[in-house]
Amino acid sequence: MIEVDNVVKTFKGVSAVENLTLQVETGEIMGLLGSNGAGKSTTINMLLGFIEPDSGVVKVNGLNAFSQSSQTRKTIGYIPENVNLYPYLTGAENLNYFCRLAGLKYSKDELNRFLLMCGLQNDVHGKKVSNYSKGMRQKVGIAIAYAKKAKVYLLDEPASGLDPLASNELSELLKKLAGEGAAILMASHDIFRVREVCDRIGILRQGRLVKEIQGKDVSANELEKLYLKFMNNQE
């Protein structure tokens, strides 16, 4: 579960997040829409415990994300826009390495099973990641979080640069993870993907959550209009 309560964060006098409050329940996927500099990545970095909020509380599974980051990080899976793995290792070796860093030791079969569950076919598990597409690397990234038994997934522009097929596969995977009880927060520019995947959508503008909508209540076109309306609104 993710809880952001009345959080403020400024960098050198410039407000990045302003009185932000949001909550993502277990089994729920929330999308954060916003232009560059809207505060999406700052919010995610605060949830990861890398940035301390100026005021307000950021909690992950009931624990303070900054002061108790060593505990909260154990339950967080983070998928950045570009999952940069070690190119000289295979997909399975990358997964194994990241798992071992987390203190988890899995057999070769178990590692392959995680990769397979995240949509990476058996024949590529033994290939070096330097030969992987962006989508494939993202699947390994999700497998890393999945193998860690993450309860919270934070995704920063995950669909950016993915081809439609890979993007669709990612959506399905996220739904599957939510179905298994994960709380997912996804920051994105991609209105259509967010509309398709998320249960709840928030629109961020200049660090403020200006609108919150249920995904099922709007069509992609309506969401786009709404987004443009808030983005163009200078108030």
Binding site: L48, I51, R100, L101, A102
Partner: protein, 469 residues
Amino acid sequence: MRDIIKNEWYYLIRNRVLQIVSIGFIFILSLAVYLGEIQSDNQRKQYDVSKKQLRDSWESLDSISPHGAAHYGTYVFKPTNLLSSLDEGINSVAGNVLRVEGHVQNEIVYSESSQMQAVSKFGKLKSSLLLQYVLPLFLLFLAFNSVSSEKQSGRLKLLVLQGERPVKLIMGKVISVWLYGIILMIATVVVHFILNFSTFSTEMAGRLLFFCLSYGMYYFIVSGLTVYFSARWKNATVALTSMLGIWILWTIFLPSIVLSTVDNWHKLPSRNTFQTAMKEDRSKGIDGHNPKDERGEKLKEETLKKYGVDSLIQLPINFDGIRMQADEEYGNKVWDKHFGGLRSVLEKQKKCYQIAGTISPFIALQNTSMGFSGTDNFHHQEFLIQVEDYRRRFIKSLNDEHAFGGSKTGDWSWYAQNDFFKSIPDYEYYSQSLSTVLPNYFLDFIVLIAWTTIVGLLLFFGIKNMRIV
């Protein structure tokens, strides 16, 4: 930590360019040791042949006065040192051959550089050059991007999210780069060991151990500092530039600046001044060849009194031998005074140079590397002292034979027998034991330990609050 090191090594092992560079490096290092060994071996053989020839001609001396034999003299060759193929130190410039004769302490001559134009012009492929300059530079290039690339790619975030502490990640990187340097160094030492297997001794093993420890610490300092910069600076280029600057300062500028400064602080006399001063002091003593010399007269009176006779002709011995020995002993005192002064200046210079290790660990490394290889100035001076000691015993034997061998004063036509010349032992070099040598490099060793500790602490505390995003 083991997983981190293993992962870093996958990169080193699976990168084709690095594979080729590493193999090339090991080959060049081995070649340098091999060439050094061949040179030492050739030198050894040449010296053995020359030594045997000289000894044969000495032992075949017959029908010559002992004093004539003192002027005939002999030559002493500086033996190749224990680990000279790893670091030849000052050997190529310090000279190898010393003429031993009566009345005079000659200077050592025939340095390798003075006889090989190519060597004096371009230097030569030396393992010390590779181990001290090239290998650390290579480690620097391996490490400068190690953390900044993780930061820039966002991988550091993923790694930290796995619960790994940044300090551990960074130490893992330092150790893997350091291990790379250690392996290349060990490869060099192994080649040396194989080439010297037949003469390998515990003394050599001890020296090798300290040699490796010194290099091990220096490589840790270079690797650690480079990784530290890589972690602290946002940009890899800045990290590389900073570390290259430090490397240039440590290895090129500071040693030269320190050397010039120390040279100014503790000035050594010029060769001409030194020799003129020696000559002047020597002229104040007994002239071994001048029976009318004033001091000689005094010695004559004392000798006559000792034997209870009135004239030299009544002496049962040859006073010429006694006078020449007294002349030698006076000359020895003069040499001790001037050479002692020289040594004391050299000692002061050495101390200053050792202290300079606090601003450049490279200086400390150079000192220990040459020291444990037995090729530094300390070992050279010890050789000169041993030779002078031998010269004194050698000349004293000849003077004593002249004085007490059966001849009478003024009898310059008296000849010693061949058996006597055979009985004079040949020069034998006694290498300095590690326990004798060790205190001389204690300060350098402490300096290296201090630098290693400082870099270790810097990594531990300086990385603690490193920004991940």
